[in-house]
Symmetry: C2
Subunit: 282 residues, 2 copies
């Protein structure tokens, strides 16, 4: 049980994290740090946080500081936080990219009090209203560069994630960013691009609205995701994403070639190969 926990950002991930802490009795008092008073107020009203404070004051009063804000802003905010913490505090982040942040903090004198984490959960919604109870249960959480953090700090963070129902995977930051490009970031790009495709081609909105089946909704729902969260992820992980995106475009071109040349045999082969994804998602 912690005394004070600060969440920096009061949105989808931090809010769900805070709800989990409260539910499991892991925090007495949760302090929220937000750029806007409206978000702070909403987070209090929704029971995500107990009070809102400016960053510096919040950090100074807290045993644990949990940062879940866009990954570009995170680079500077984390620096500020790390400059404030003592060796009795623990700092963790929840960002979808890890290489840039780990590199930025590599030589910070308090590096060992920081645990780089990425809970593999999210939805297409954002803001305090998007926070949900029991969000992380059954999902994986990646911890990067565990060896650069104090064992005691890692133990605390792992204990919390375990209590929230997650299992932990260890990776170096480089591998993390490569895998998440494949398994998460490219899905968002294809969804955004598919939404733009349909919005471009289909001028009769009513026809889309009426015809859109569950399959379409499923492939395009991530296109509702927040630009200020996702643009920085794409930029920070641009090399890995470009690599996957090039492969994806070349896979789409294979389908195009099949249709242009009416090559049914190859089309079947491409689809049968795709079916192998069944081994991976049940």
């Amino acid at each position: 049980m912690f005394g004070n926990v600060t969440i920096v950002g009061v949105g989808l991930i931090s809010g769900s994290f805070a709800l989990g802490l409260k539910e499991k009795g892991l925090a007495r008092n949760i302090i929220g740090v937000s750029r806007t008073e409206a978000s702070s107020k909403k987070a209090i009203d929704l029971g995500l946080i107990d009070e809102a404070l400016p960053l510096e004051e919040a950090v100074k009063r807290s045993d644990l500081i949990y940062v879940a804000i866009p990954v570009d802003t995170s680079l500077t905010v984390m620096q500020t936080i790390m400059d404030l913490v003592t060796d009795r505090q623990v700092v963790a982040d929840a960002g979808s990219t890890k290489e840039a942040l780990c590199a930025a903090l590599e030589n910070h004198p308090m590096r060992s009090r920081f645990v780089a984490t990425h809970p593999m959960w999210g939805t297409e919604y954002s803001g305090p209203e998007a926070a949900v109870r029991n969000a992380f249960a059954g999902r994986a959480c990646v911890i990067c560069e565990k060896e650069r953090s104090d064992k005691q700090a890692v133990d605390i963070i792992e204990k919390i994630y375990h209590e929230l129902g997650m299992h932990i995977l260890y990776m170096n930051a480089k591998d993390h960013d490569m895998h998440t490009a494949y398994i998460s970031h490219i899905s968002h790009i294809t969804s955004f691009a598919l939404a733009n495709t349909v919005l471009e081609k289909e001028k009769e909105d009513n026809a889309i609205f009426e015809l859109a089946s569950a399959g379409f909704e499923s492939t395009v729902r991530l296109a509702k995701s927040n630009p200020s969260m996702w643009a920085p992820i794409f930029m920070q992980n641009r090399e890995n994403i470009l690599d996957v995106l090039n492969e994806h475009i070349s896979q789409l071109r294979k389908f195009k070639a099949c249709l242009e040349k009416e090559n049914n045999e190859y089309l079947l082969e491409l689809i049968e190969n795709a079916n192998r994804i069944r081994r991976i998602i049940k």
Copy 2:
């Protein structure tokens, strides 16, 4: 209430249709026509059909014949069926493409007994086991070239779909095939291609399995869909699909250009535009 209803194909769509007829008390006896004895047996065991018969015998004994088989096979099987029916029977199909079939039957002497339909529902699963109760409720069903069918035949089919909870949209076959390319077929191509991308790039299956979040599952689940159902749809609707696919590749290239040139402003613009899909899917 019909006496005998034949479903041709005993899978996802026809099986779900049959379950609906039974539940609503719309059919006394359901006959299944399948290419394999194993499927027929399974359909009987699952309660989808009451008996299995060869096509000709089944058609001759039925008031209503409902055809839900791959759209290539459908072209010839429908011809056989239409050659057998009298003007006291009604035939409907549930295919995902409509132009080729409507054209093939255009001059058939019994054309007026045929109603071309497309219930906008499906899952990534196939076969008798994939059939589910209450499948169509709340979804749209397209009827094409209504004016070529007898009013009495259309009334019967509409009454059934209404009982199953669907609302009806009317379209010509050409418009139907264009809209479904945008709203359904391209989603399947992007899912298949995304699965192939990830399977190609990500050799460490365990990493995918562990990291795959709900977002990834959502964009890639259609990649589990049946090749023998989808390849013929893509081929029959190839011109429309190529049109959308070219647009989709060019939309992906815009993301690629943003990343290559580190053009953050344009990246935000692309994502914000994609967010407009919120107006269409809630």
